[in-house]
């Protein structure tokens, strides 16, 4: 008994577990752990969903606040951040505004490997292969350099390297006067804390260097700066006094030409290196191979919202078909300039998105309004000009020649959004073939030798005549191709009213320029881009008597290689000058609209045929790009990222 008790007592002093007990405990712990894990992941998922929902609500609230202040919705999450309506960019969503800016949607898209994304974009032929390397101007800005002010998608002007500006009128620079009075001076206060790509501080001296360099190279053609225009007040303040009075300077300085580069650097130096291309933008220059590619990488010390992409490559692919095939093959992630004939095919691809910008340039008919050669004076007649406009069904022209969404009927020679609320002032000339015929007939341009006003019916393709002269208009062809389908279409429309258009194709560039400058033409067609925010920009270049273009004035050339061929007259000049001299942006828009109303509605000295949109295509999963700025040179690649992984070849 004692031995039994002793053994029992001994056994009870052995603390421990049997193997079975341990196994049972492990199994129970495993079950419990599994239950917890699933619950936690569920919590994570729910948490993530809640975070996304909160994020979307936050963006909506910020948008309403933005709208209350600015009268429009922000075009991107970054714009909300810059305006102080959001604390930081979203990790879950991006904003996709409607192209008319009246609405927006919040699209889901979570970046993949946020910090390490790269992207390759197919651009056109190297824009610098045929010109000096100008990484801070025109065409492909590549997001490296910045201007003092920026132009938003709706052509309003916002802060960038300058946080504010004020007009000092009369100005404080005695070098430049008009009528004995100092020209107005613009004082720009610069954003503090900005660094260049090499880490050096951005100061007013850099702005002065940038502007002075443009003047010395003859590259300033709209701001009208002089060699002594830029004066450093202090490291954060600079005064700029144009050599000619210019109240539109902030709107003009958004143009990439006026990007700020580091003092004493020269981006035109070849080979381009990171030490010669020094700017402040969200991307910094990495490498450039002429004719092949330019590579930029994220500037991690950027003052604003950092770019999503670590590296961005622009491949120069001159052939549009190759560009498209490279996108379909996956060798590039996005492409510029989808051609008219490619839009439908790309839209049909389920793995690609086709993105259309708002209208950025207008396909116009320019007219020789003052031809001295009798062969080129028909358009001096208001009746002929109006009849030509009446004979073109612009809606049908757009519908038959472009895919939906790529072109639209506009009544302004510049994109209508540049005129803001004043754009509807211009009504345009409606299509009315019967009236076109009546107008011509009353003016003596008859068919079959009929008397003026007799309204004798014209045969098919019959050209009207007056005193033995055919109503034939010579059109310069910028494509050097008389068979261009667009021009042939216009030609056939005008012929229905009895107006013949002779297309002057196969001219060399030099021949074309000579004819244009000497007034040996009736019609011309070009599609100028609106690259700055000055509503009067195109008006000053193409019709203002003080334009330096030789087909508008002889201010910068001598006869016979210049003439007032496109001058619109004193009433137009007065309106343009009011637009330039208006102290408010709204005033500039209003007077510009009135000038366009005079130009088109009243005197028909131009015929805007179609407002054209840039079209881009990209792989599904590329986000942050919709819809882009109307002007290609203002595209913001820093907001672009991927929502799905894709591979580079």
């Amino acid at each position: 008994m004692t031995r039994l008790v002793s053994r029992t007592r001994n056994r009870s002093r052995q603390d421990g577990f049997t193997l079975i007990e341990l196994l049972v405990v492990i199994v129970i712990l495993g079950i419990l752990a599994g239950v917890v894990v699933f619950s936690v992941s569920g919590i994570d998922d729910k948490g993530e969903s809640a975070a996304e929902a909160t994020d979307a609500r936050t963006i909506r609230t910020a948008q309403e606040a933005f709208f209350a202040k600015n009268g429009r919705y922000a075009g991107s999450v970054e714009e909300l951040v810059e305006g102080g309506f959001l604390a930081s960019p979203s990790d879950y969503h991006h904003i996709a505004p409607t192209s008319d800016g009246t609405g927006y949607s919040i699209a889901a898209g979570q970046p993949v490997g946020d910090a390490d994304q790269t992207m390759t974009v197919g651009y056109k032929a190297d824009p610098w292969a045929n010109s000096k390397l100008r990484l801070s101007r025109f065409a492909l800005d590549a997001g490296t350099c910045e201007t003092l002010a920026k132009v938003r998608n709706d052509y309003s002007v916002g802060e960038r390297l300058a946080t504010s500006w004020e007009l000092i009128n009369p100005g404080n620079n005695p070098t430049y006067k008009t009528g004995g009075v100092n020209n107005p001076t613009w004082r720009f206060r610069l954003r503090p804390g900005v660094t260049f790509h090499d880490g050096s501080a951005f100061t007013a001296q850099d702005v002065k260097w940038s502007m002075d360099r443009l003047v010395s190279k003859g590259d300033d053609f709209t701001a009208k700066l002089g060699a002594a225009s830029s004066v450093v007040v202090d490291p954060q303040t600079i005064d700029i006094t144009p050599a000619e009075s210019n109240l539109r300077l902030p709107e003009i300085l958004v143009h990439p030409t006026y990007a700020v580069i580091k003092d004493q650097t020269e981006p035109s130096t070849m080979p381009a290196t990171a030490s010669t291309v020094v700017c402040t933008g969200p991307f910094k220059f990495k490498s450039y191979t002429q004719g092949d590619r330019i590579v930029v990488e994220r500037h991690d010390a950027y003052w604003g919202t950092k770019a999503r992409l670590r590296e961005l490559t622009f491949r120069f692919i001159g052939d549009a078909t190759t560009r498209r095939l490279a996108l379909e093959a996956g060798q590039i992630d996005a492409m510029y300039d989808v051609g008219r004939s490619q839009v439908a095919g790309l839209r049909a691809k389920s793995d690609l998105d086709v993105v259309t910008a708002p209208p950025s340039y207008v396909f116009n008919f320019y007219m020789n309004l003052a031809g001295t050669d009798p062969a080129y004076d028909e358009l001096q007649s208001p009746s002929v000009r109006r009849a030509l406009a009446l004979s073109i069904d612009r809606q049908e022209f757009v519908d038959q020649n472009w895919e939906p969404g790529v072109a639209t009927v506009v009544h302004t020679p510049s994109p209508p959004s540049i005129l803001g609320s004043h754009a509807p002032m211009i009504q345009g000339v409606p299509f009315d073939l019967a009236q076109a015929r009546q107008v011509l007939d009353a003016d003596g341009w008859t068919c079959g030798g009929g008397a003026p006003g007799a309204n004798t019916a014209c045969g098919a393709d019959e050209v009207r005549q007056k005193a033995g002269e055919r109503l034939s208009l010579y059109m310069l062809s910028s494509t050097n191709n008389a068979d261009d389908p667009l021009l042939q279409d216009l030609r056939s429309r005008a012929l229905k009213a009895g107006i013949e258009i002779e297309i002057g194709g196969n001219l060399s560039s030099a021949q074309r320029t000579t004819r244009k400058n000497q007034g040996l033409w009736d019609l011309d067609h070009t599609n100028p881009n609106q690259n700055d925010a000055n509503p009067a920009f195109l008006l000053t270049l193409q019709w203002w008597s003080k334009s330096v273009n030789p087909w508008v004035s002889c201010l910068a050339a001598t006869p016979p290689n210049c003439g007032p061929w496109q001058q619109a007259g004193p009433a137009f000049d007065a309106l343009v000058e009011r637009a330039l001299a208006s102290p408010t942006f709204d005033g500039a828009q209003r007077y510009s609209a009135e000038a366009m109303d005079l130009l088109f509605d009243q005197e028909v000295k131009i015929i805007p045929l179609a407002g054209l949109s840039r079209v881009y295509a990209m792989k599904k999963g590329v986000a942050g790009f919709t819809p882009p700025h109307p002007a290609e040179s203002h595209l913001n690649w820093s907001t672009v990222y991927r929502t799905t992984a894709s591979s580079d070849l």
Binding site: G318, L325, A329, S508, A510, N561
Partner: protein, 314 residues
């Protein structure tokens, strides 16, 4: 052989001089004022008459034509082909940078072309009027008829877009060379196949081949060691012409594949009316063509002693 070579070298020099005259004449005959064109390409606004006059003096355009030619020729002989109107870069350096890429492409295309065309031509001749012959001839006809750009797009569509086995563009690796070289090779192989066939057919009926067969020489040896050797002269002629053509005529292919060679340089220069670059391109490719033909002549002499001996007057 030395006399034969020397005669060819003298003729080469004469031809190159003639090419230089034509090339210089291109610039003279081109429409527009070169000074004005040069300024138009670099200034935002139309140049003023004063600016044009200064530019003319700078470019030496105010001198007599003969003086301009002599100066231009002297500089070209020293490797100075002037400067691009557009970028200001030395034309010689632009060409030097791109020439190796074009040579690489042309050489690869030529090698492929020969590898495809010669065996097919020999086979087609040997199997005359059989199905094999008809297929080869039809293939050659299609290849010769198909425009280069269309062939390029078809190959891209098939290999890059559908199969995704080759890249569309680039020049960093051997992979990037395949499609552009194949495009050029197929076009050139088409005509080379027909030449090879015709040349081999000419010799197939010769007595010495009948003798060789009668002596028991194998078919392959008869075809390649005897027939092809004797048919080589016209084939080598066409190969030589092809190389010259490939060097100077790869415009379309280089443009489509964004291959940064001489062709792409020339297309950009033509679009921009950059005459110094156009002149440099024409001079270099024409000279290359002449040199290739010279080398072809030398190869003739090596291949066929009768040509060498007759040239030496024996």
């Amino acid at each position: 052989m030395i006399r034969y070579t020397a005669a060819r070298v003298v003729w080469l020099a004469v031809v190159v001089l003639g090419v230089s005259v034509v090339t210089f004449g291109l610039g003279v005959l081109a429409p527009g004022d070169p000074a004005e064109l040069a300024l138009q390409l670099t200034l935002e606004l139309p140049p003023t008459p004063d600016q044009i006059e200064r530019k003319r003096e700078e470019l030496g355009l105010d001198r007599p034509l003969a003086v301009q030619y002599a100066r231009w020729l002297g500089r070209a002989a020293r490797g100075d082909l002037g400067e691009s109107y557009v970028s200001g870069d030395a034309v010689a350096s632009l060409i030097r940078e791109r020439l190796p890429r074009t040579v690489l492409l042309a050489s690869a295309a030529l090698a492929l072309s020969v590898l495809i065309a010669v065996p097919l031509g020999v086979l087609s001749a040997y199997r005359r009027d059989t199905l094999v012959d008809h297929i080869c001839r039809m293939g050659a006809l299609v290849g010769a008829s198909l425009p280069g750009y269309l062939l390029a797009y078809l190959l891209i569509l098939f290999f890059a877009v559908r199969l995704e086995v080759l890249p569309v563009l680039g020049f960093d690796s051997a992979q990037h060379l395949v499609l552009p070289a194949l495009t050029l090779a197929l076009g050139s192989a088409a005509s080379l196949t027909r030449f090879a066939r015709a040349a081999v057919l000419d010799v197939l009926g010769e007595d010495y081949l009948r003798t060789a067969r009668a002596k028991g020489v194998g078919t392959s040896r008869v075809l390649f060691a005897h027939a092809l050797r004797n048919a080589a002269v016209p084939i080598v002629t066409v190969i030589g012409l092809s190389l010259g053509g490939l060097l100077g005529g790869a415009f379309v292919v280089e443009w489509i594949f964004s291959w940064p060679g001489l062709g792409e340089l020339a297309v950009n220069a033509i679009n921009a009316k950059d005459y110094p670059v156009i002149q440099g391109f024409v001079l270099v490719t024409a000279t290359a063509y002449v040199v290739v033909n010279f080398l072809t002549d030398l190869v003739y002499g090596a291949l066929d002693p009768r040509i060498r001996l007759s040239a030496e007057g024996r």
